[in-house]
């Protein structure tokens, strides 16, 4: 409880926490949706926001409020899959490279360096083009996960490198702890804060990438996500026809989501860093 109390002293944490709760609530509302989000023409077209249709309706004859709820839910699902899977890769690569050292370390770090240097966006576009037919929330999440681990693996590796030199490693090895047990039991607790803060950043990156891929038409356009919603609005010329409610809904939701995720990650990692925590919480 004390942790929460300290975190809530930061206005950024309070704001981002509230916004994220609101968006999560919206995502859970989809359980009660009166419409199937993939169907067209279920409500009258091009209506302005009103009490009946809170955010108006689109030219596809869909209620924008419920579309937006599904979009937030699906974008979050993609980002959680991408984030969690790429965390698994990052932790594995970082720990193996950091603990084994030598040639394994050099090969793995060369790989992650290449990932940082090569414009990955183009490679992702190439891959997405080829698997376009079987694109759904899970495959898209996995596709993004393959490319989201490089920088974070580096961070975890450098942490393991410093842990390996500490005394408790010697003690553990000499008292017969196996490598796997040592890494999971002794090192993992140190790496956990890092894994959490990079998870949030990675989720944010995945949502942004999904939007970009949707604009290129490389995702399944029938599944409502923030990206596909925006792409439909653009391709129906919502901008020139003046249907601002259709165009602005995904844009505003996306901005809220990105800012909230970023502020949450900054606030939490400042709290986890003992140097900045002292400044914030004060000596007690």
């Amino acid at each position: 409880m004390k942790v929460l109390k300290d975190l809530f002293r930061d206005y950024r944490f309070v704001l981002s926490f509230c916004v994220l709760c609101l968006l999560l609530f919206l995502a859970f509302l989809t359980v009660f949706s009166p419409y199937d989000p993939t169907l067209w023409g279920v409500v009258p077209r091009d209506l302005k926001p009103s009490w009946k249709y809170l955010l108006g309706t689109s030219s596809k004859g869909q209620d924008i409020f419920w579309q937006a709820a599904f979009a937030v839910r699906n974008s979050l699902i993609i980002s959680v899959i991408a984030g969690v899977v790429s965390r698994v890769i990052a932790v594995t690569v970082g720990m193996v490279a950091g603990y084994k050292g030598g040639l394994t370390d050099r090969i793995l770090m060369f790989l992650s360096d290449s990932f940082l240097v090569i414009p990955l966006f183009l490679i992702i576009v190439m891959l997405a083009m080829l698997v376009r037919q079987m694109m759904n929330l899970v495959t898209l999440g996995l596709l993004l996960a393959i490319f989201g681990w490089a920088w974070d693996a580096r961070l975890i590796r450098s942490q393991i490198l410093s842990l390996r030199e500490r005394e408790f490693t010697q003690t553990a090895v000499l008292s017969g702890t196996g490598t796997l047990r040592l890494v999971l039991k002794e090192y993992m607790p140190f790496a956990t804060p890092l894994v959490f803060s990079t998870l949030i950043n990675n989720m944010s990156w995945a949502i942004g990438m999904e939007i970009t891929l949707a604009i290129l038409g490389l995702v399944n356009m029938d599944i409502p996500t923030l990206g596909t919603m925006l792409q439909w609005a653009i391709s129906y010329q919502a901008m020139f026809l003046g249907y601002w409610w259709w165009l602005l809904t995904p844009v505003v939701l996306a901005i809220l989501l990105f800012v909230a995720l970023y502020w949450l990650s900054v606030s939490v990692s400042e709290y986890l860093d003992p140097r900045t925590r002292l400044q914030r919480v004060g000596a007690q």
């Binding site: 950024r12 060369f110 790989l111 360096d113 290449s114 940082l116 240097v117 090569i118 414009p119 990955l120 966006f121 183009l122 490679i123 576009v125 190439m126 891959l127 083009m129 080829l130 698997v131 037919q133 944010s204 990156w205 949502i207 942004g208 990438m209 939007i211 970009t212 604009i215 290129l216 038409g217 490389l218 925006l230 901008m239 165009l247 844009v251 996306a254 901005i255 990105f258 800012v259 995720l261 970023y262 502020w263 900054v266």
Partner: protein
């Protein structure tokens, strides 16, 4: 000599290996996925409503196999790809048949390079100077206000930020043209009206890239300067009565600049991807828009060409930046 052996040669080997890895990935990706590019292209032509009789289909399959470099074993194809690359031959674009990919890329490249060079330079220099000042005077109100603005802009992805800017500045307030690289129908020539038109069209994409990039440099620079500021040599200079302007420019910013050069090299790949995305938003006639059209038409050869050329260009730029680094940092000046 030690410099060549210890620094230059390993760095060059790394450079060659990264390009090798990138090209190999571009080669392997279509072969690892279960879809057949030839079948996919034919299906696409069919879905556009064209009728193909069996003889034409056979001829088409043969042509496409040759075009995509799919003859012989996988290893033969791989060798053939490298041979073609060394000749600078990236094949022909399928949907703008028979224009070679290199011609299409060459046409788009000056636009992207111009946009990228100016915006990276302005955002890096500007972001560092403003960030440095904000870090040095971090208790002032304007510095704190800038920090909040940066906190809002920083997490936005390129697409969302550019699109918001487009909505605001060329749709709500009709200040700038919505799309294009110059007025439609104007011939490229070296006259003031043409240059003015190009600049006016480039302004929004450039602004969006500059603000997004600048925010990143602003934030990191502010943090670094706050740390340098606490170092004893700065405190000593203050106590010794050195003028504040000299402390800021000579003592603090100069020291804080160095990690930012390394960071620029690391961020270049992402900045480049961001520029491509921004070009798509504004239909700016560079590589990004070329890529967009290639994706829409399924022009696989063109995408491969763009990707390989981009990998080579970005890794080369980073190599040059790395080799220039000692010019700025006297501590690693090679002997």
């Amino acid at each position: 000599m030690a410099f060549i052996r210890r620094y230059l040669i390993p760095r060059l080997i790394q450079y060659v290996l990264v390009i090798f890895l990138g090209v190999t990935a571009v080669f392997l990706i279509p072969r690892l996925t279960p879809t057949d590019p030839v079948a996919q292209t034919i299906a696409q032509i069919r879905s556009q409503g064209a009728y193909l009789d069996p003889a034409t289909v056979d001829q088409l399959i043969q042509d496409l196999t040759e075009l995509y470099g799919l003859e012989g074993s996988t290893f033969d194809q791989y060798i053939a790809l490298w041979k073609r690359l060394f000749r600078g031959d990236f094949g022909v674009s399928f949907f703008q048949f028979p224009t070679p990919v290199s011609v299409l890329v060459g046409r788009a490249l000056p636009w992207t390079v111009g946009l990228l060079l100016t915006t990276t330079l302005i955002s890096w220099v500007g972001g560092n100077i403003i960030g440095g000042l904000a870090g040095y005077f971090s208790r002032r109100r304007w510095a704190q206000a800038l920090e909040v603005v940066a906190m809002i802009i920083r997490p936005l992805p390129y697409y969302i930020f550019s699109f918001t800017l487009l909505l605001l500045l060329s749709y709500v307030i009709r200040l700038f043209p919505i799309a294009g690289g110059a007025e439609i129908g104007r011939r490229p020539e070296f006259t003031w009206p043409y240059i003015k038109s190009v600049l006016r069209h480039a302004f929004l994409p450039a602004l969006s890239l500059t603000i997004l990039g600048g925010t990143l440099w602003f934030q990191t620079m502010k943090l670094i300067v706050q740390n340098v500021n606490a170092e004893s040599f700065v405190q000593y200079a203050k106590l010794g009565g050195v003028k504040e302007s000299i402390i800021v420019s000579k003592y603090v910013i100069r020291n804080a600049m160095l990690p930012q050069i390394t960071a620029l090299g690391l961020a270049l790949g992402q900045i480049f991807s961001g520029a491509l995305i921004t070009e798509i938003v504004f239909s700016y006639p560079g590589l990004g828009t070329l890529l967009y059209n290639a994706v829409i038409t399924g022009d696989y050869n063109l995408i491969m060409g763009i990707t390989i050329l981009s990998i080579v260009a970005i890794t080369t730029a980073i190599l040059v930046l790395d080799l220039l680094y000692p010019l700025f940092d006297p501590r690693v000046r090679y002997r």
